[in-house]
Structures are given as structure tokens and as C-alpha cells.
């Protein structure tokens, strides 16, 4: 198993290198930070701009290949991912951004997963009954609702609760209140900030899992092996629980591992609306600020997360399906 993981990791490492390099070339040839410098007042001369960029390792006079070698050398020798046009070090900000994203998403990822799969099983067992119709209709409705609108609705709801109570229970934006004293007050403050985004992402996030789990389970409810289990003397519900559920979870386990990275890297709506400046928002900002190094770094991070997701998917599949054997 370890050998297999090493081998897969090696292959993904090569793929990450290739996507990141390709991303760097794309960024370096299309992002021109010098254009933004021209909007400064007083307007700097091109020589001044070039000189300041040269100091940051962003020399616009070098060609793409030279800059790539310089950038790659920095990473390989000093683990230095370069600097932004404003002089900030990518390495310095990176860890903070990743932390913010992780804190924002981790609870809702676990909650969506558990609730989504549980509701999928519940609705499949009651196919076409009232409960199934309500749950599944809700999931389809949520699917077509754009995320920003959904999040705004939750924020409005939280605000109206605050108003109704007459006290600020929930914070609809931000990570924490500045200057809060540590200990119990800090914890209450954290929960008050955390509740709204987590709630919003959870209730609008489980739909995909619910629909997938329901569908895969229904595909297996009438499978021949469930009939065999019933012929042995298991009740219908026992047969479904023991035999159909595990088989139906195989494709869901695969998809879970792949959706987690998508949430991390594609969560900029949530980060922007709830004002949690994480990695997703950073990548969008990097493009608008013509920041080559940050754009490439976020891309590299996305690739790593995807590789981890893919390995997790393999791992999850081997765990639930004995037919897949690791060699």
C-alpha cells in the first residue's frame, strides 16, 4: 500500500510540476503589472517601474524562459515563491490564506457529506413517498440556485434574527472581532462568526451528495444480490442496509474525494460574501492585480489539493471495494 501511494504521489508530483509550469508561462505572458503602475500618481517613468520590478525579481525586460528559470531556481533552492508587484512575499501571506480557507470550509465539508449521504439513504428507502419528494425537490431547487444569492438569503435571515432579538447574535461577515479578549469571549465570538457561513454552505451544499447517494442506492435496491440476501431471510430493510448501501457508496466515495478540492479552490464566492479572505479570493485578486507569482502559487496549491483528492479517492475506493486491489 505504501509503495503504491509513493508511486501515485510520484506521478502526481510530475503532473503538478507540469500544470504549474504551464500556468507560470501563461501568467508571465499575459499578466503585465507595469500597466497598473501607470495609474499611480505621480506617474512613475518606465525606467523607475522596471527598476523597482527588477528588485522584486519581476524584471519585465527578461523573456518568459529566463524569468521561469529564475522563478524555478528560487523555489528549488530557497523555497521562495517570489514576490508581488507591491513587494509582499508570497510565502508570507500564503500560510495565512490557506488557514483562513481551511477554517471556513472544514466544518461545512464534513456536515454536507454526512447530512447529504444520510438524506440520500433516507430518501432512497422511501422512494416516491412524501419525505423523498420533499428532500429531493429541495436538492434540485438548491442545485439551480446560484451560490451568491443563496448566501445573501442566509445573511438576510441572520440579520433579521439579530433584529428580532434586538441583539447581535450572529456576525454575517468577517472572521473575528478585533481586540476580543482570549478565552471564553473569544470562543463565543468565533462561533458567532462561524455559524452563518457554515450554515449557508451546508444547507446549500449537501444537495449533490443527496442526489448521488439516492440514485446509486436506488440502482442497487433491486439488485440480484439484495434479492439473494432477502431469500436468506433478511428483511428488505436489513438487506438494503447490509448489502446495497456499501455497494452504492463506492461511486459516492470517489466523488467526495474529488469535490473537496473543488470546494477549497473554488470557494471564492463564499470567501468574498462572508469576507473571509482565503485562498480562493486571493487567486481572483491576483489576476486582477496582474500578480504573476501569486496566481501561479494558488494554481500550484490547487493542483496539490487535487492530487491529494485523487489519492484519497483511490484510497477510499480500495477501502470499500475489495475488487479493487492495490498492487
Amino acid at each position: 500500500m505504501l509503495k503504491y501511494l509513493m508511486k501515485r504521489s510520484g506521478i502526481y508530483l510530475i503532473m503538478i510540476f507540469l500544470t504549474t509550469s504551464a500556468g507560470y508561462f501563461l501568467a508571465v505572458s499575459s499578466l503585465k503589472p507595469a500597466v497598473l503602475e501607470q495609474e499611480k500618481i505621480p506617474r512613475p517613468t518606465p525606467e523607475q517601474v522596471n527598476a523597482s520590478f527588477r528588485g522584486l525579481g519581476l524584471d519585465p525586460e527578461k523573456n518568459a524562459w529566463e524569468r521561469y528559470i529564475e522563478w524555478l531556481g528560487g523555489i528549488l533552492t530557497r523555497w521562495d515563491w517570489g514576490r508581488s508587484p507591491n513587494g509582499a512575499f508570497v510565502n508570507a501571506e500564503f500560510a495565512d490564506r490557506v488557514m483562513v480557507s481551511t477554517r471556513l470550509f472544514i466544518a461545512s465539508i464534513i456536515l454536507t457529506l454526512v447530512i447529504g449521504v444520510a438524506l440520500g439513504v433516507y430518501s432512497a428507502a422511501r422512494q416516491y413517498k412524501f419525505q423523498d419528494r420533499v428532500i429531493t425537490s429541495y436538492s434540485y431547487l438548491v442545485h439551480i440556485l446560484p451560490a451568491p444569492i443563496a448566501y445573501f438569503l442566509v445573511q438576510l435571515g441572520a440579520i433579521s434574527i439579530n433584529e428580532a432579538v434586538g441583539e447581535r447574535i450572529f456576525f454575517v461577515t468577517g472572521i473575528s472581532t478585533p481586540g476580543i479578549e482570549p478565552g471564553w469571549p473569544a470562543f463565543v465570538d468565533l462561533v458567532a462568526h462561524y455559524a452563518v457561513p457554515t450554515f449557508a454552505m451546508t444547507i446549500f451544499g449537501w444537495a449533490g451528495y443527496q442526489i448521488a447517494q439516492r440514485q446509486y442506492l436506488l440502482d442497487n435496491v433491486n439488485a440480484d444480490f439484495v434479492r439473494t440476501a432477502r431469500a436468506k431471510g433478511l428483511t428488505r430493510n436489513q438487506a438494503i442496509r447490509k448489502h446495497a448501501l456499501r455497494v452504492s457508496f463506492i461511486p459516492v466515495a470517489q466523488s467526495i474525494a474529488f469535490t473537496i478540492p473543488a470546494i477549497f479552490t473554488g470557494g471564492f464566492f463564499a470567501e468574498a460574501i462572508f469576507a473571509w479572505p482565503g485562498i480562493g479570493l486571493w487567486s481572483i485578486q491576483a489576476i486582477s492585480l496582474q500578480d504573476v507569482n501569486v496566481a501561479t502559487a494558488t494554481l500550484a496549491y490547487g493542483s496539490v489539493i487535487f492530487a491529494i483528492g485523487a489519492i484519497l479517492a483511490d484510497f477510499a475506493t480500495t477501502l470499500v471495494d475489495p475488487r479493487v486491489r492495490v498492487q
Binding site: F225, T228, T235, I250
Partner: protein
């Protein structure tokens, strides 16, 4: 209560069970399903009594309600099914029990073996877990060790080698036959009194079928269970069953002992079914009995006899009121004690069919067609296809990035044979023997192939340009196994048939004319050309497939299992059509089939394949009447014959194990590992089989070729089985 009832009947009426009584008693069972087209009345009044230790065969074509009956008995039908009547197990009513209450009986009193062993076991649990689950459900107090020991015993009983290790194996590590053995082990785990087997061998190869039937036989002996055997194959039940119930359109149409049904059928449907099955043990070349038409739509009310639309003896009286099952006149109804069913038939003309009614005459079976080639000696006819030492080896690779060759799979290993004008050559053998690869190699027709393929005088070594290849394709066409999958559902029949003609650049008007000809040729109505394939029955779709193959006037038609997806009654019609077309159009056939009875009926020559090699080939009558190679002998003995007396006294060679993987093909004779003759040989002679490869040669001029050093050798006694 009337005075002339027996004690058994009085007990039964009181809801009690007496030991001599039927263990399973079904009365007036009706099953209705709600569908989009209205209520489908799938089972309409089934009655039967199953005596302890006896075997009841339920026979009928697909859609006749056999399986629904068994599922109703098991309580496994969907909740939406409307089930009425009575199903009593040892006098206790089972219908109407809740799922939970029914679970006490399922798997302990009544167990079931299903048709498809590949999908009937849960893929993610070991077979041990699945067997032990069956034990746990009904014996919650049994210790873990006791359950494991019992599971090992069960696996041993059904003939799985090294059962202790195999407990930890997953279903995908077993072959189909092995999985069906596991299914039987699960079914008999709790010593059921009733074992229902629903087409238990339909999905298996003939040699494996013989093994599994043998295991069922052992299981019945060990447990003393009564067996309900559901099948469409009249051969399978002939040797096993005591009583037979023939079902048609959801209703039993004839019941009786196995002798009554096979030797004295009194319902035209039964008669037709028996005449529709080709026989492996007779050389008489007679057409098969086709039963035209399709079963009635059970969503509509049945007003007359349900078989009337297809019955050649139909008269006005048949259309008024559905005939009930009543005792066949002239046959004494046996006493109630001991005997289950008297001979009964649901036909108002049962009396007319007494004596030896000739199914061929009644069903107007066509005369055996005569071909213009029949009088010509084989050597004087032209060769339409010739294979010279054709090989197809697949490399077996290992490794993710850099592939290493760790072995070779010899799918086809040096095949040579030819087909002459007007003859049908069949290739037979178990799955995995290389039949399909042979066909693919012929269709491939590429200069880079190993060996030479000559079609209509054109060799694959010469024909490199597109034009000669197109000419070759015109000479040879193919009919596929699954008529539904082989036709594009979005094409009308006209479009299906026009496509090959358009490829040839035929003008529009000529295409239209040709299509009308083709429709008539294959026995379809020409005005149906604008219909889509789903508006035809399975047999009609296969006729469309044949018409498409014939569109470009080929000389050779390759038939890949042309009738295996069809019901017996429909199969007969398609086989007759193939026979007739061959005679009328002077076609040659290359057929691949696993049903040796069909092969015997239609072929002139046969080639028996084993692990990529031909082990015996020659005239079909020579090979079938006097098989020389032990593998051919085993194959032929494995085919059940629809004749109860013959079947009970037949010696059967049961081959051990499955077809070995072509990867481990041994040196010397490929077949030695499973050979019943080899097993009986003294060690000195065995040496020869293990070191030398027997050549394919004949003993005398004109006889069949075979590849064995010890033909007609004595068969190992352990592999011979007779059920006297």
C-alpha cells in the same frame, strides 16, 4: 364437509399439516401488476402440491409466469404486486404475512437459487461472510466456530476445492459455475424443506451446467428437500423432475408426471414445445416444429384459450371461454395419497391428441429443404473460406509505466479448416476456448495477421487495398447473438436494410425492390418496413438481422450464437429459416454456438475447440455419434436430452473444474488437466500426454480428425455419473 374427503384433506382444511401431505401447497395463485398499460395479470390461477423429497419442474417460455410464481411463493415480489390465493407451507398460510414474519421461513424452510450467479452475490463481502450470514439469521445463538465449520462443510458439499481457504475469497475470484455452487450452499445452509431453483443453469456452459445439476442433485439427497425446478429447457428437467407443470400466459396448461408430459402430451402447446427442441441424440434431419406468433398480452382480459392465436388446431369453440385444467380422459387419475398431480390438460381437444400425435403434422412443419449442393461431393465444391494456421496470441503485460511481458495468452493457436459451398460448419466449445477470437480474426482480414485467411479466393496476404477488401466484405456477412443490441433503435427496418445496399452504391429504386424481396425472404411482412426494431418480437428482430446480412447477396454468413437469445418456440422458426435460406440461396454458414443440439441439427461439419485448438473435427454425424476425443465425449454427455427414460439411464461424464486460463496452457496435451481418460491411465501412459502434443489427424480415410493419443480410452470411474 363432504364425506369422501381423505384424512389428509380434512387436516389441511383445518389448517393442520400431516406428515404425508404436500410440503408446499399452492392454490389459485393470482398475481397482478400495475403497469403503464393497465393491470397485467401475470399469474392466473396456479395450483400445485409439492410432496416431500420430490421434484416439480415448471416449464414455459419467457413471460409465462414461472418466475413470478416462485417469487410470489418466496414473498419477494414488490409491494405493489397484488397477490391473491393461497400458499401453504406445511399447512401454514404464507400469503399475507408481513416481510418480517416471512423472513422466518425464507432461507430456513424455503430457499431459492437464482438464475444469474454473477450478479446474485454481493461483490463486497467474502463468500464466507455471505454463507455465515444465512446461518446467523436463523440461528442467532450458534457460535462463531460452529458457523465457520458449517460453512466449510457446505462448500465441501457443493464441491469447492480447499473450502477453508475459499471462505475468505470474494465472489469475483470465482467463476460463474463456482458462484452458482456458492449460491446452492447458501440455499441449503439451513436444511430447507423446499428448494426453488429458478433457471439455475441457464447462464452457464454445458459442462458447468452438468456439474451444477449434479450439485443440486447431491443437495437434494443430503437435505431431503422438495425441489421446484423452473426452466425453459425441457432437457434439463427431463432427468430431474418427478412431475411437470407446463405454463403458458400465466396459467398451467398441462400437468402430470414427467412421463405423461414427454410421452403423451395432450395440449398442443406442450406438443409444439417438445417438437421445437432439436435433439442431440438423433441424426434424423427433419425440420423443427415452429410455434408461430407471440404469447398474448396479459394486460388485456383473456376471453378464450390463451394459446388459440398460435394453435394450429384452433376452432370456434376454443375462442369462447378459457378451458380449465381437467383430467385427461383415458388416463386413470391416481389416488390422492402419494401422487400429487394426475395428468391434466387445459385443452378441449385433449382427446384428439391421444396416442402418438405427430407435432410436425399438426404444426405444419415445413419439409426439410433440399439444396442444389446436396448431391455434389464435398471435394468437388468450391472453398468459400479457408483458414491456414491462424494464430492470435495476446501478450500478458505487467507494470504501470514500463510494461513487462510476463506471459502469452494463446487465444487461437494454429487453426486450419475450410468451408465449402452450401455447407454449415460449426465451432463449439466452452466460453473462453477461442470461438469468438476465431470469428474476429476472420473479420479482421489484415495482411499482418499470423496465418492466412482466404475468403472467396481472396487471401488476406494479398488484399491490401480498400477495394478488394470491400469485395471480400460483400462475400461474407455476419448475424449477431443479441438481435436487440445489433439493431440501431433509431433506424427503421428500411434504413437498417438499405444501409449495406447504399454502401454498394445501388440506385434508390433497386434498393426499394431488394428490401421488399428481403422482407419476404425472411418471412416478414413487406409493409412493416417503416417500423422500428422495438415494434418487433425477438424472433422477428433476428429475422431482420438475417435479412441485413443477406442484403448484399453474400456467399458466406457468419452466425455468432444466432438463436441463443431466443425462446425455444421462436428458436425453431429461426433455425428452420436458416436451413431454408441455405438450401434456396446456396449459402455457406460458419456458426459459433454453445447449444450442441442446435449445432447437430443445422450443421454438416463441426469443429470442437479447446483452449485455442481444434481437438476434433469432421462430419457432424461422425463426431456426434462416435466421438473420439475425451473432451467431445464429455461435452456430448453433458447435454441433457428431452427424454426422461433415456436421461435417467444415461452415463454422464462430469468434467472437474473450469476451463483453465489459456495462460497456464500446459506442455503436451492441453486437456490433460481435466481429461477423464487421462485420469484413468497408468502413469507410464500419462507421461506421453504430458510431454507430447497430440496431432490433429484421422484414423481412417473419411473419418473425423481428432487430437488424442488414447481415443476411446476408459473413463475414470469418479467422473462418470448415472442416476438410475
Amino acid at each position: 364437509m363432504s364425506t369422501n374427503t381423505t384424512p389428509v384433506e380434512r387436516l389441511r382444511d383445518a389448517g393442520l399439516y400431516s406428515p404425508g401431505d404436500a410440503v408446499l401447497s399452492v392454490r389459485d395463485l393470482n398475481v397482478r401488476f400495475n403497469s403503464e398499460n393497465g393491470v397485467v395479470h401475470a399469474v392466473r390461477g396456479v395450483d400445485f402440491d409439492l410432496m416431500p423429497g420430490k421434484t416439480l419442474g415448471i416449464v414455459g417460455e419467457s413471460g409465462s409466469g414461472k418466475s413470478v410464481t416462485s417469487m410470489a411463493v418466496m414473498g419477494l415480489l414488490p409491494e405493489t404486486a397484488d397477490i391473491t390465493g393461497s400458499v401453504r407451507f406445511k399447512g401454514k398460510e404464507l400469503l399475507g404475512l408481513s416481510d418480517k414474519a416471512m423472513c422466518k421461513h425464507r432461507g430456513s424452510d424455503i430457499a431459492m437459487v437464482f438464475q444469474d450467479p454473477l450478479s446474485s452475490l454481493t461483490p463486497v463481502y467474502t463468500v464466507g461472510t455471505q454463507i455465515i450470514e444465512a446461518l446467523t439469521v436463523h440461528n442467532p445463538t450458534m457460535s462463531k466456530q460452529a458457523k465457520e465449520a458449517r460453512a466449510v462443510d457446505l462448500l465441501r458439499m457443493v464441491g469447492i476445492p480447499s473450502p477453508k481457504d475459499r471462505l475468505k475469497a470474494f465472489p469475483h475470484e470465482f467463476s460463474g459455475g463456482m458462484r452458482q455452487r456458492v449460491m446452492i450452499a447458501i440455499a441449503i445452509a439451513n436444511d430447507p424443506r423446499v428448494l426453488i431453483a429458478d433457471e439455475p443453469t441457464t447462464a452457464l456452459d454445458v459442462t458447468i451446467q452438468a456439474q451444477v445439476l449434479e450439485v443440486l442433485h447431491t443437495a437434494q439427497e443430503e437435505t431431503g428437500a422438495a425441489v421446484v425446478m423452473i426452466t425453459h429447457d425441457l432437457g434439463v428437467v427431463a432427468g430431474m423432475a418427478d412431475d411437470i407443470m407446463v405454463m403458458y400466459a400465466g396459467k398451467p396448461v398441462e400437468t402430470g408426471t414427467v412421463e405423461d408430459i414427454y410421452y403423451n402430451p395432450r395440449m398442443p402447446y406442450t406438443l409444439g414445445l417438445l417438437g421445437a427442441v432439436p435433439r442431440i441424440d438423433t441424426a434424423t434431419k427433419q425440420s423443427l416444429v415452429p410455434i408461430e406468433g407471440t404469447p398474448p398480452n396479459l394486460a388485456l382480459p383473456v376471453t378464450g384459450c390463451s394459446f388459440a392465436a398460435r394453435c394450429p388446431m384452433v376452432s370456434d369453440a376454443c375462442l369462447h371461454g378459457e378451458p380449465e385444467l381437467f383430467p385427461v380422459p383415458g388416463v386413470s387419475v391416481p389416488g390422492v395419497e402419494g401422487q400429487t398431480l394426475g395428468h391434466k390438460a387445459a385443452c378441449i381437444k385433449a382427446e384428439e391428441l391421444s396416442g402418438n400425435a405427430d407435432a410436425h403434422k399438426i404444426f405444419h412443419a415445413p419439409p426439410k429443404p433440399v439444396s442444389k449442393f446436396d448431391g455434389v461431393a464435398r471435394v468437388e465444391r468450391d472453398k468459400v473460406l479457408e483458414l491456414k494456421d491462424v494464430k492470435k496470441h495476446f501478450p500478458l503485460l505487467k507494470g504501470a509505466l514500463i510494461k513487462r511481458r510476463i506471459g502469452t495468452v494463446k487465444a487461437v493457436d494454429g487453426l486450419s479448416f475450410d468451408i465449402r459451398e452450401g455447407e454449415c460448419v460449426s465451432i463449439v466449445g466452452e466460453s473462453g476456448c477461442g470461438k469468438t477470437t476465431t470469428l474476429l480474426e476472420i473479420m479482421e482480414f489484415h495482411p499482418d495477421q499470423v496465418g492466412e485467411v482466404v475468403i472467396g479466393g481472396v487471401s488476406n496476404k494479398v488484399a491490401t487495398d480498400h477495394k478488394t477488401k470491400m469485395a471480400m466484405r460483400k462475400e461474407m456477412q455476419m448475424v449477431f447473438q443479441d438481435p436487440t443490441g445489433a439493431l440501431d433503435p433509431r433506424f427503421t427496418v428500411y434504413e437498417v436494410l438499405a444501409e449495406p445496399l447504399e454502401n454498394l452504391g445501388m440506385p434508390k429504386a433497386a434498393i426499394r425492390k431488394r428490401i421488399m424481396e428481403l422482407m419476404k425472404l425472411v418471412g416478414l411482412q413487406p409493409d412493416h418496413v417503416n417500423r422500428f426494431p422495438n415494434q418487433f418480437s425477438g424472433g422477428q428482430r433476428q429475422r431482420i438481422g438475417i435479412a441485413r446480412a443477406l442484403a448484399v447477396n453474400p456467399k458466406l454468413v457468419v452466425l455468432d450464437e444466432p438463436v441463443s437469445a431466443l425462446d425455444v418456440s421462436v428458436q425453431a422458426g429461426v433455425i428452420n429459416l436458416l436451413d431454408q435460406l441455405r438450401a434456396e440461396l446456396g449459402l455457406s454458414y460458419l456458426m459459433v454456438a454453445h447449444d450442441l443440439s442446435v449445432v447437430r441439427h443445422i450443421s454438416d461439419r463441426v469443429a470442437v475447440m479447446y483452449l485455442g485448438n481444434i481437438v476434433e473435427t469432421g462430419d457432424v454425424d461422425d463426431v456426434f455419434d462416435n466421438p473420439r476425443h475425451p473432451y467431445t465425449r464429455a461435452l456430448l454427455s453433458a447435454i441433457p436430452v428431452p427424454d426422461p427414460q433415456l436421461e435417467r439411464t444415461r452415463e454422464r461424464i462430469i468434467l472437474e473444474g473450469d476451463l483453465p486460463s489459456p495462460l497456464d496452457a500446459p506442455k503436451g496435451c492441453n486437456f490433460a488437466t481435466r481429461c477423464p481418460v487421462f485420469a484413468a491411465l497408468p502413469a507410464a501412459k500419462q507421461e506421453k500426454c504430458l510431454t507430447l502434443e497430440p496431432p490433429l489427424a484421422s484414423e481412417e480415410e473419411g473419418a473425423q480428425d481428432f487430437a488424442c493419443f488414447f481415443p476411446d480410452g476408459e473413463i475414470d470411474a469418479d467422473m462418470l455419473v448415472v442416476h438410475a
